[in-house]
Amino acid sequence: MSEPSFEDAQRELERIVERLERGDADLDEAIKLWERGEELYKLCVGRLDAAHGKIEELARRVESAQP
């Protein structure tokens, strides 16, 4: 399975949080949801860090191209 996009991951995370906050999941399921949520969080943060790195790199490149 290919990795979900940032937006898809964020949406799934939102659904999980909503589900957990509603409190109607059974305990085992809740633990699994939490684990999945943490996984999605890491994935999203990774994506954001990558985007941040790219922005910095582009900004540097623009900076150095300035006459």
Binding site: Q10, E21, A30, L48, L58
Partner: protein
């Protein structure tokens, strides 16, 4: 009329009078026509039978003598003066006594600004009815033309204004100039030809028609029907910069854009390179800002979600625990203790709770439980 010639050997020779009479006679076969021109050298004397003036072609100075009977001239009440533009209806005529060729006028009509304006107005209405000036026909000018075509006279000012403006705004611009007549009877066709030439030149993406201000007559070619149609049907967008603010020759209405001066035309056809650069820089800065903002928003949202996620399981366990406590409470409420508090007691024998007398024999040891404890007893 018979013109007599004298015979000298094999040569036929006419007297001056006979020659003049012959030519004059032949001229009478020509029809009456209208001739347009400007009045100069108007000579009228009370003792002369005729009034004389010279009709001059304002475009090239060609001259034609005109005579008209004084009574007829006076009856017209035109109050003419040198420089007036007139239409003269007359017949070619030779003044035999002097061999002077001239136009014998039968009638004169003043052909002034008003008539010009009326004729122009008619043409304007006709072309407007055809939709030549319709706003939906106007094309957008290219933002960055590969080449700019410029139709202009060798009249330095207009040309220089356009070129200077273009060069200062966009130094890399390429301009193809077609010099042509911009006034006089040949101008309209010459400008049409110049337009065609520029249209078919490669890479010309916009054409400027420029001419400095001038008299009403000077600008007339720019209202010529041929030129107006050529501008309207030009295959590349056109900018008309003819005359000054207050003049509106018809080609202004047919062009895709109108500039009040040649300088303004220059500004219309090429962008200002400094301004362009600044706008690009601003866009680029905006690009970076936008990317960073999107990133920040994403990060905030994710952190918020993470916070919620972190709290959710504990919250959920808490909630489950609360529900459990609640159930326990209810469970406790349902236990017999409350019954004991109302004064009942549970009696246990050797075989458990005593529900009937048949299980008890006198002397049995019994255990009695009441609300706050238990004590022993013996059956009697």
């Amino acid at each position: 009329m018979k013109v007599e010639a004298l015979q000298y050997g094999d040569r036929k020779v006419y007297s001056v009078a006979a020659f003049n009479r012959g030519v004059a006679d032949w001229l009478t076969r020509l029809p009456s026509v209208w001739v347009v021109g400007e009045i100069t050298e108007l000579r009228r004397h009370a003792r002369w039978q005729s009034v004389f003036f010279t009709l001059k072609d304002p475009s090239d100075g060609a001259c034609l003598g005109v005579t008209i009977l004084r009574s007829r001239f006076d009856a017209l009440r035109l109050d003419l003066a040198d420089g007036d533009r007139v239409h003269v209806l007359g017949r070619p005529d030779l003044y035999e006594a002097r061999g002077d060729f001239r136009l014998r006028a039968l009638s004169i009509e003043r052909w002034g600004l008003g008539d010009h304006l009326a004729a122009l107005e008619r043409l304007k209405r006709k072309l407007a009815d055809e939709g030549l000036f319709a706003p939906e026909r106007k094309r957008a000018l290219p933002r960055l033309p590969r080449r700019v075509g410029l139709v202009t006279g060798n009249d330095a000012a207009a040309k220089r204004d356009v070129l200077t403006t273009i060069r200062s705004r966009f130094p890399a611009a390429r301009v193809l100039v077609a010099e042509t007549y911009v006034q006089g009877p040949l101008a309209a066709q010459a400008i049409v030809d110049a337009l065609d030439e520029l249209c078919s030149a490669p890479e010309v993406d916009v054409i400027v028609l420029a001419r400095g201000g001038g008299s009403f007559e000077d600008l007339l070619p720019f209202s010529d029907e041929r030129l107006v149609r050529a501008v309207a049907s030009c295959s590349v967008p056109t900018v008309s910069a003819v005359g000054h603010e207050q003049d509106t020759p018809l080609c202004d209405l047919a062009a895709d854009a109108r500039a009040s001066t040649p300088t303004a035309a220059g500004r219309l056809v090429v962008p200002d390179v400094t301004e362009l650069q600044e706008r690009l820089d601003r866009s680029r800065a905006g690009l970076e800002r936008g990317a960073r903002r999107a990133l920040d928003r994403g990060r905030q949202r994710i952190e918020q979600l993470h916070e919620q996620l972190r709290r959710a399981p504990a919250l959920m366990v808490e909630r489950k625990r609360a529900r459990l406590e609640h159930a326990a409470g209810r469970l406790r409420a349902l236990s017999p203790r409350s019954t004991l508090e109302r004064g009942y007691a549970i009696v246990r024998g050797e075989e458990g709770i005593v529900r009937t007398v048949s299980t008890v024999t006198a002397g049995d040891r019994l255990d009695v439980e009441v609300a706050d404890g238990r004590f022993g007893a013996r059956a009697e």
